[in-house]
């Protein structure tokens, strides 16, 4: 394939300033998102998935954040743009769906106004046209009574309806590229299913490239085409969804899978990943970052400078430790972390 990807992230490093020193929360990440593709990014909280998403949209506070590398959107490096130029992309060709629909909406603005806000900035439409389009959008995201909702305030809507409004805002200008940051985490299962079905339908219609950020592997299995697993700011495994679910290789990916109480089968004990995600300041910067959480794997199994290896076509795994990885036989031996 010689076709240029829609979004190309090259060696992106996002560092935050803590007490006058910069610490990388996203460390040298390279990713591609193609048109009409859903790329899921999975990981525990604190592993840098949201930091990555916000870096792409450049929504971090620029005073204490350092962005290095390239984020190419349709060949244009977003990191070199001025704020005004960046604003031409935000909400226009690039949309974002936020996690918590209550805080993402302005409580003092009517739903209609909020949807029109993006159109006002990017599209040259008359008021009547904008209203017609807003109503159409509300209908598209499955809101039963668009005329009424158009005039309502966010607090009058239920969680699922609010998330639909957030989606309507994100797709108002028919973006080519969407970031969905935990779009269903705040919702009930039944509503989650509806929202996921809706997102997939819209994605098919508009051929959008989507980065879906989530910690729920079930959501990934339902939505994604490709999956990137992140740990401590790095991508540790990336593959298409079928490969990743049938043949997860990296110890972190495998541990994650084993710790879910899957609805399909009931085993008695769940696997517990020892320790916690290291905080930004205490992140090990050399060697395999996951090594401290799998201490029963001998040190020589890890690489000194772990890189991504292509184990099969388009299936990349970081570090060589996956070859020697096994779960501890005696789960009792690695009980709870005594801190």
């Amino acid at each position: 394939m010689t076709k240029q990807p829609l979004l190309q992230i090259k060696n992106l490093t996002t560092s935050f300033r803590i007490h006058d020193e910069y610490y990388a929360a996203v460390d040298n990440v390279s990713l591609n998102v193609n048109e009409n593709e859903v790329l899921a990014i999975v990981g525990e909280s604190g592993c840098g998935k949201s930091a990555l998403a916000l870096s792409i949209m450049r929504l971090h506070n620029e005073l204490n954040t350092k962005l290095e590398g390239e984020v190419n959107f349709k060949g244009q490096n977003l990191l070199t743009l001025s704020t005004a130029e960046m604003n031409r992309y935000r909400g226009n060709e690039m949309g974002m769906i936020f996690q918590d629909p209550l805080t993402a909406l302005n409580p003092l603005m009517r739903i209609g106004q909020q949807i029109e806000e993006a159109m006002k900035n990017h599209l040259n439409l008359s008021d009547a046209e904008m209203k017609a389009r807003s109503l159409e959008l509300l209908k598209k995201v499955g809101i039963p009574n668009p005329e009424r909702t158009y005039l309502q305030f966010p607090h009058e809507l239920s969680g699922g309806m609010r998330q639909r409004v957030v989606i309507a805002i994100a797709i108002a200008c028919e973006p080519k590229f969407l970031i969905a940051d935990e779009p269903t985490t705040a919702l009930d299962v039944t509503i989650q299913a509806q929202i996921l079905d809706l997102m997939r339908e819209l994605q098919k219609q508009m051929k959008t490239g989507i980065i879906l950020i989530t910690h729920d592997l079930g959501v990934v299995a339902e939505m994604a085409d490709r999956v990137a697993v992140m740990y401590a700011g790095e991508i540790v495994e990336i593959a298409d969804v079928y490969t990743l679910f049938s043949n997860p290789l990296h110890p972190y990916t495998r541990s994650l899978f084993n710790s879910i109480p899957s609805a399909a089968e009931g085993s008695d004990r769940l696997h517990v990943i020892q320790g916690i995600v290291p905080s930004l300041k205490n992140l090990p910067r050399t060697g395999c970052r996951f090594a401290s959480r799998i201490p029963w794997i001998k040190e020589s199994a890890h690489e000194i400078n772990p890189t991504l290896h292509e184990v099969e076509k388009n299936h990349w795994v970081r570090c060589t430790c996956y070859q020697d990885f096994h779960f501890p036989d005696d789960t009792e031996a690695v009980k709870y972390d005594i801190s």
Binding site: V189, Q192, A193, A224, I260
Partner: protein, 308 residues
């Protein structure tokens, strides 16, 4: 003897309005539910947010007053007791709260948080109290030295274990766990769930496990009650609910769980659409003329469904 029995429990919240803010209507948060818990088992209460599962839990522990109905604990009717008599049963029923970030007082040390229930019920010297707290802390896998720390010094999973330690200090018989892991990451979640299973064996605890996550419910519970709009729509053992769901709402809930197998997602979506259509089309088969859910009817010894 029944361990815990909830009989025709109703909890209505008044809606006030109009002249003199009179009561003009009621929100029927819990509307006539009946269920029983046997000692040592885990009973799961499942449903969407707003279906009344939390209200049920809070009413059993005495944080809400029931509008009508009875709650029996070891054959004693809790709902009839005076405040002072009820007090001693508080010891036997404890609660684990949902959010470990807001259920621990940030201005108290771990020692004071965990010792609070002890101070209410037992007269211990400061030293005895400290030993006891250190004991429980060790049981939940936290180092005994952390008694002088404050909640913000702990991670989410550790905080939830402090919450569990607090619930364990008085050797309760029944623990009401209201979404104990929904605020936690998967790996931490696994840790807390394993731990809850361990202490259940150790202390012969009975859990009322309230959750909306069916994966966790399946992992933890022996029997399950499905709630919808303040009423139970189906009740049965874990296998009955997951393998042979009878009520359309149960089916809908089960079909909403994301499948872990990406190869089957197209079939699964189709299946979900079919169930949703059935839910819409056969609405009056499962709900009466006012949209109310029917009473539970047993279809086998352990399995009951709300059908006309």
């Amino acid at each position: 003897m029944t361990f815990l029995k909830v009989e025709n429990l109703k909890v209505y919240y008044p809606v006030r309005g109009g002249f003199f803010r009179r009561v003009i209507d009621h929100v029927k948060a819990v509307d006539d539910i009946t269920f029983e818990l046997k000692e040592g088992e885990t009973y799961g209460l499942v449903g969407e947010s707003g279906c009344g599962k939390t209200t049920t839990g809070r009413t059993i522990i005495g944080l809400n007053r029931p509008t009508a109905g009875k709650i029996f604990f070891n054959d004693i009717e809790l709902t009839k007791l005076k405040r002072r008599d009820f007090y001693q049963y508080r010891k036997d029923i404890q609660m684990i709260f949902q959010d470990p970030y807001s259920s621990l007082n940030p201005r108290k040390r771990v020692l004071d948080i965990i010792a609070e229930p002890i101070r209410n019920f037992e007269k211990l010297s400061p030293n005895e109290e400290k030993t006891k707290v250190m004991d429980v802390l060790e049981k939940v896998g936290l180092s005994p030295e952390s008694i002088y720390k404050y909640p913000h010094e702990f991670s989410g999973g550790q905080r939830q274990r402090i919450g569990i330690a607090r619930a364990l200090t008085l050797n309760p018989k029944l623990i009401i766990a209201d979404e104990p892991v929904s605020a936690l990451d998967v790996s931490v979640q696994a840790q807390v769930l394993n731990f809850m299973k361990d202490i259940q064996k150790e202390f012969n605890l009975t859990y009322l496990f309230i959750s909306h996550d069916l994966g966790i419910i399946r992992h933890m519970c022996d029997r399950i009650g499905i709630m919808y709009r303040g009423r139970l729509v189906e009740e049965g053992t874990k296998d009955e609910i997951f393998e042979y769901p009878q009520h359309i709402y149960t089916k809908r809930l089960l079909s909403s769980i994301p499948q872990m197998n990406p190869e089957e997602r197209i079939q699964h979506t189709a299946f979900r659409r079919k169930v949703n259509e059935e839910f819409k089309n056969n609405y009056d088969k499962y709900f009466d003329a006012e949209g109310k859910i029917f009473d539970l009817k047993p279809i086998s010894e352990t399995h009951s469904v709300a059908l006309p």
